[in-house]
């Protein structure tokens, strides 16, 4: 699951609203590149070329993406078990397999899922996929614009603000620079939410991983779909603000509540990403 924020790396132009980011198949898109990491074919030549450049720096990125996707599945399963039945998935990307609504609806077919992405292709694709799926929708939007998203008619319509909601920011905040004040707008999503609401974050991290730093550098070059800002576990913990961080806290992604010890493969303690979940009490 991958989404992104406004494209800064490509042209730096704030002029005409020409072709929106993601619509031009000759330019790589964060969502499609991620689909490629996951073995999907929802991608174009430009996406694959860019993905190969990143993979050259970080060959195990494919398994990294898989682990992150597995974390999403575990986190959503946990939330369903807690009785949470409203999910806002920010930066949802291209639907592949094991999407949030699939995991959720397997447990509770009446639960609500709203996907948000700023990539028009991802949104169009998701719309098509969800055409016949009840209780699941997708909207286009920039996750930094909290008011626009929480005020979107579909979000207002689908969600009961009096009951807990889960806000998912999985593998997306490393595409938000510090200038955008991520801690502030993330906090805004939960500011008016009911008690018992949850915030889920997974985030790329290059702590102890020079190859991750190199991969980040590729994202920060020209012809990148988006600039990247990896953060340490401590930095990610701050993004949760004053919410109650649930066990085991912010940890390497494979170590967050594995289904069984067997699922934890060697090298998990140096996995280049961290995750955590917090609750509003």
């Amino acid at each position: 699951m991958q989404g992104s924020v406004e494209n800064e790396g490509r042209t730096g132009n704030d002029g005409r609203a020409d072709v929106p980011a993601g619509v031009d198949p000759t330019q790589p898109s964060v969502a499609r590149v991620y689909d490629y990491y996951l073995g999907g074919s929802h991608n174009f030549e430009s996406d694959r070329v860019f993905a190969q450049r990143v993979l050259a720096q970080m060959p195990d990125l494919v398994s990294v993406a898989q682990e992150n996707r597995a974390f999403l599945r575990r986190a959503v399963s946990y939330l369903c078990a807690q009785g949470v039945d409203q999910f806002l998935d920010l930066g949802s990307g291209i639907p592949t397999v094991g999407n949030v609504h699939e995991v959720v609806h397997a447990v509770n077919p009446a639960a609500t899922v709203v996907y948000v992405d700023h990539d028009p292709v991802a949104v169009t694709h998701s719309t098509e996929l969800l055409r016949d799926v009840p209780h699941a929708d997708v909207i286009g939007g920039d996750l930094r614009d909290v008011r626009a998203i929480t005020g979107h008619p579909l979000v207002r319509d689908r969600f009961d603000r009096r009951r807990p909601v889960a806000v998912l920011l999985v593998s997306v905040l490393h595409f938000v620079g510090d200038d955008d004040g991520p801690a502030d707008f993330v906090g805004e999503y939960l500011a008016d939410a009911a008690r018992g609401s949850h915030l889920v974050i997974s985030h790329a991290s290059d702590e102890g991983r020079p190859d991750a730093s190199s991969a980040q550098a590729v994202y920060n070059q020209n012809r990148s779909p988006n600039r990247m800002r990896m953060r340490t576990g401590a930095e990610v913990e701050k993004l949760f603000g004053d919410l109650t961080l649930l066990d085991p806290g912010v940890v390497r992604i494979p170590l967050w509540r594995p289904d069984s010890p067997d699922d934890v493969r060697p090298g998990a303690e140096l996995y280049p990403g961290v995750a955590g979940m917090a609750r509003k009490d």
Binding site: T11, G40, H42, V97, E102
Partner: protein, 721 residues
């Protein structure tokens, strides 16, 4: 059939381990193993089946892809694990194993190809749909832009960086009077206008270079018909996607009306509506600008028409206005061509600014020419009007550095010209100005001085010459300023008369003097001393004066008969109507009236006869002409004495008694006594002094006269009045 049976569970366990992590599959290990156990069971069953059915293995291959085992490594490892578990089952089954592997791989490849094609199809469709949506949005935006562009009230043009105009809208065409083709053929540089500043075009160049993104200016254009178009122009730089300057977009608002109105208002604000001359505001602007040049010596001629009010009053304001217009135009025609600014300050006041007044003679010539110009007769509605003007001139080197200061000096100088008899030029005189300023300051302090009781009285005895007895006093007012400085009446009485403060001051003097006389009499009894108080013409003209006198007498309890009011000869002679009645009323009250300084004016004794006057006070020159050193006119001492003698005689004939002032020597005293003068006053007899020092002198012969024998000659009976 032979060999060991294959265990599907064992196959699934190894299979799980082999493919885990090769592809992204949304299952944990346990679920995956369960899923693969199902597939393994089918494979084993198919392998062992009597009838070979390739579709089972092919279906397993398809199900792998369905679980998203999309990486080729997943298939590779699957085939290896399957071979590992099925091969030992028997060599005779080799062909069946190969068929199974083949079918599985074929099913997998088929499904993967379908999946890939489907996903490619979906993403392409999504991209296409998103692109269509984006293009629609762009088209809508473009359509909106076109609508705005075409329908805008403001003019819009788009130009290339080389200045070529590529697009203009209807509004701009209408403003300039050209059609779109005519404008588009010309580069923006052809729309330069003489009013453009070099700064305007420098900004445009900076914009083309990309250092400036927006600029705004007021700019003029020529329309096709040659008339002027004033605009509020905003130019924005449009950059391409790489941020390089690409187009200049100009938005033009027609502000011609506003501009003309502003220009007109500006002219109105700076010009006099009656004469069209620059007004006071513009004059001061120009004067200040001239003064800013520290080496420049500007000067001003401040001109005021003489008797203009009379023209207005007698011939009417229309004629007055016409006269002003004519004179204004003549002054402008005469002086403006030489670079002098002629402005109207208001009313009938004009001013000429001479930029270079370093030569005083030149300034005077300018002023004289202005005078001559004003003096030329003006015909208005059949009247030939002749007026003159008074002019004050002042240059920067005399008048001070600031515009206000300079104009104040010019105003003062103009006042001198008026005061010196009009129709003339006065030049600024620093000393005279300083004196004026000092006088003005002093006069401004008078009211406060009165309030703070800084005035006080001294008294000079009036001595009966026949026996040397001090029969009365003249009250003399003094001013002790806060600084301790003591001023005589000559310094401040004229100022008090000018400002009118004399009325209040006179009232105080009268009351204070009568009160003092009353205290003396209360202390010693005997004959009441005569209290003589000076009165100014201005006081007598006050309608309440008689009441004021009566009130002072009432308040102090001093009888009218013991009060004498002194007026100067000229005040009495020129008094007519009301003041004469006032004098009559005072006389009726019993107050004595004395003519002060008699002999300095016309000394019309015949006229005096008709007035209610009791006493003549002879002016100083009469007395100082007596004795050695006396050089008073023709005939020397003897002549003076003869005049004096006849004046005294005449006065007595008219029933007036006579007081001689300025008696300063024993000889003067002796002669006056022998001439039959009734009363003497002067330093020889007694100087003015405070009440305590005067008190012991009253009602008795002065000590110094007790020893001096009365000179010979007959004693005349003093006249009583």
């Amino acid at each position: 059939m032979g060999g060991d049976r294959v265990d599907p569970a064992a196959l699934a366990a190894d299979w799980t381990t082999a493919v885990l992590g090769t592809s992204y599959v949304s299952m944990n290990r346990r679920d995956l193993r369960r899923y693969l156990t199902g597939l393994a069971t089918r494979l084993v069953a198919s392998f062992d089946a009597p009838e070979w059915d390739r579709t089972v293995a092919a279906g397993v291959g398809r199900l792998m892809v369905a679980a998203h085992f999309t990486d080729a490594r997943s298939l590779e490892r699957t085939l290896a694990v399957v071979a590992e578990h099925l091969a030992p089952a028997g060599a005779d089954r080799t062909s069946r194993l190969a068929a199974l592997q083949g079918a599985l791989a074929a099913g997998y490849a088929e499904a993967l190809r379908e999946r890939t094609l489907a996903e490619q199809e979906r993403i392409s469709m999504a991209a296409f749909a998103a692109r269509v949506a984006a293009e629609e949005a762009r088209w809508a935006s473009e359509a909106r832009y076109q609508a705005v562009f075409a329908g805008a009230v403001i003019g819009i043009s788009v130009a290339e960086l080389d200045g070529r105009i590529v697009q203009v809208n209807e509004a701009l065409c209408a403003m300039l009077g050209y059609d779109a083709g005519e404008i588009a053929a010309r580069p923006i540089y052809e729309f330069m206008h003489p009013y453009d500043t070099s700064d305007n075009w420098r900004q445009v160049r900076e914009m083309i270079a990309g250092t400036v993104d927006h600029l705004r200016m007021e700019k003029a254009y020529y329309r096709k018909d040659g008339t002027e178009l004033w605009t509020d122009l905003v130019v924005s730089l449009i950059r391409d996607q790489a941020g390089e300057p690409r187009y200049l977009v100009a938005m033009v608002e027609d502000i011609t009306e506003r501009h003309l109105l502003q220009t007109r208002l500006q002219h109105q604000a700076l010009h006099d509506p009656l004469t069209g001359l620059p007004n006071r505001a513009l004059f001061f602007d120009r004067l200040e600008a001239a003064l800013e040049d520290e080496y420049g010596v500007p000067g001003v001629c401040y001109l005021d028409l003489d008797g203009f009010k009379a023209v207005n009053d007698t011939l009417g304001h229309d004629v007055g206005d016409q006269l002003l217009r004519t004179i204004a135009e003549r002054l402008r025609a005469e002086l403006a061509p030489e670079g002098h600014l002629v402005a109207r300050m208001g009313g009938d006041e004009f001013v000429v600014l001479v930029e270079d007044a370093s030569d005083p003679a030149h300034m005077r010539r300018v002023a004289e020419r202005a005078l001559e110009t004003v003096r030329r007769p003006v015909r208005v509605e059949g009247n030939e009007i002749r007026v003159s003007a008074s002019i004050g001139i002042v240059g920067r080197d005399q008048g001070g550095s600031g515009a206000a200061e300079l104009m104040k000096a010019a105003d003062t100088t103009l006042y001198w010209a008026k005061n010196d008899g009009r129709s003339r030029v006065a030049e600024f005189d620093r000393d005279r100005h300083r004196t004026d300023v000092a006088r003005f300051e002093l006069s401004a302090q008078l009211p406060e001085a009165l309030r703070r009781q800084e005035f006080f009285l001294e008294y000079q005895p009036l001595v009966r010459l026949c026996d040397g007895v001090a029969t009365g006093v003249e009250a003399l007012v003094r001013w002790r300023r806060e600084t301790g400085e003591r001023l005589g009446p000559d310094r401040f009485i004229p100022l008090a008369e000018e400002t009118g403060l004399i009325v209040a001051l006179g009232r105080w003097v009268l009351t204070e003097a009568c009160g003092q006389a009353r205290r003396w009499h209360d202390a010693h009894g005997g004959e009441r001393p005569l209290m003589s108080v000076n009165v100014a013409a201005r006081q007598v003209r006050e309608p309440d004066f008689v009441d004021d006198v009566r009130a002072a007498l009432d308040r102090t309890g001093w009888p009218a008969g013991a009060l004498q009011l002194e007026l100067t000869e000229s005040d009495v002679m020129t008094a007519g109507g009301g003041p004469l009645e006032t004098l009559g009323a005072l006389a009726d009250l019993g107050v004595r009236i004395a003519i002060d300084d008699f002999g300095t004016g016309y000394s019309n004794l015949a006229y005096l006869r008709t007035l209610p006057v009791h006493e003549l006070k002879l002016a100083g020159p009469f007395v100082t002409g007596i004795g050695p050193g006396g050089r008073n006119g023709r005939g020397g001492t003897a002549g003076t004495e003869a005049v004096l003698s006849s004046v005294i005689g005449l006065a007595h004939t008219l029933g007036l008694s006579v007081t001689a002032e300025n008696v300063e020597t024993a000889e003067q005293h002796g002669r006056l006594r022998s001439l039959g003068c009734d009363t003497g006053q002067g330093w020889f007899l007694a100087p003015p002094a405070g009440p305590a020092r005067v008190e012991p002198l009253l009602g008795r012969p002065l000590p110094r006269l007790r020893r001096s024998p009365v000179p010979g000659g007959e004693r005349r009976r003093p006249a009583t009045g």
